[in-house]
Symmetry: C2
Subunit: 142 residues, 2 copies
Amino acid sequence: MVDASEIVSAFETAGYRLTGPRRALAVLIAAQGRHFTADDLLGESRRRRLGVTRATIFRSLDVLADLGVVERLDLPSGEHAFVACEPAHHHHVVCSSCGRTTGVADPGIERIAAAIGRETGYRIDAHRLELFGLCPACRKQN
Amino acid sequence: MVDASEIVSAFETAGYRLTGPRRALAVLIAAQGRHFTADDLLGESRRRRLGVTRATIFRSLDVLADLGVVERLDLPSGEHAFVACEPAHHHHVVCSSCGRTTGVADPGIERIAAAIGRETGYRIDAHRLELFGLCPACRKQN
DNA sequence: ATTTTTGCAAACCTTTTGCATGGAA
DNA sequence: TTCCATGCAAAAGGTTTGCAAAAAT
């Protein structure tokens, strides 16, 4: 679980100004226990009368993704979503029922990436691993 | 490399009608040695006066993705692209310079997915692995 | 005082949809 | 002759942008 203050600090440390909208977004993002879209944040901002607008949300998510505070997620549906994440967790398991995500430390993909590099002749620079399934809570309900 | 006739057969086998636009798209897709977007195909269709329109392209790509003839790819940029693929290859290495893709057989992700399932308590149903880097040809040029 | 950030609204781009026409089986 | 597929054009989403005003340093 990521704390709002960590997100605020990330802005600060990177030399961005600490503004009202950014603080508000930090709180909103930290409150999400699941993946979320820009539109989700916009809805929350309106419901809670925070006055953070669409453009600011996109711009902030962009910055936060650069800083590694949130990670872009491509859901199987093709939707673009985000998750707040600890920098130590490089991959995410996504519950296809409730949307909850759990970060996992790199579990040995490096080795596989290296093997694929050797096999294909590519110089592998980056990889993306996303896992989808049912979280413990949703398993019980079925 | 995927042959146009394989794509045509895939339509046929699955019970879809063999139409002019679908044959034309099969040729266009087979000619791509790299990932491509719906818009790429539309451009090609116009340049070559094939008369295949946007809606048909999206509808066909949808079908072909279902049939496993093409695979949806989410590029690091967030763009949605496609690659033609052999059904046996479950993952793709994407060259970030020229866009070429190479399919690779599943190299042991199953085991990792199982380990992550055990660790997190999720029941893992699906995973996506995409690798990005420089292909052999592009490596030489740098 | 200076520079960044924001809001607003419009623009943009990609993808989807409804419906009448045309074509495959 | 029956259904499926296509073209067209419009709609629907999602994301970006220009610019003037507001806020942070």
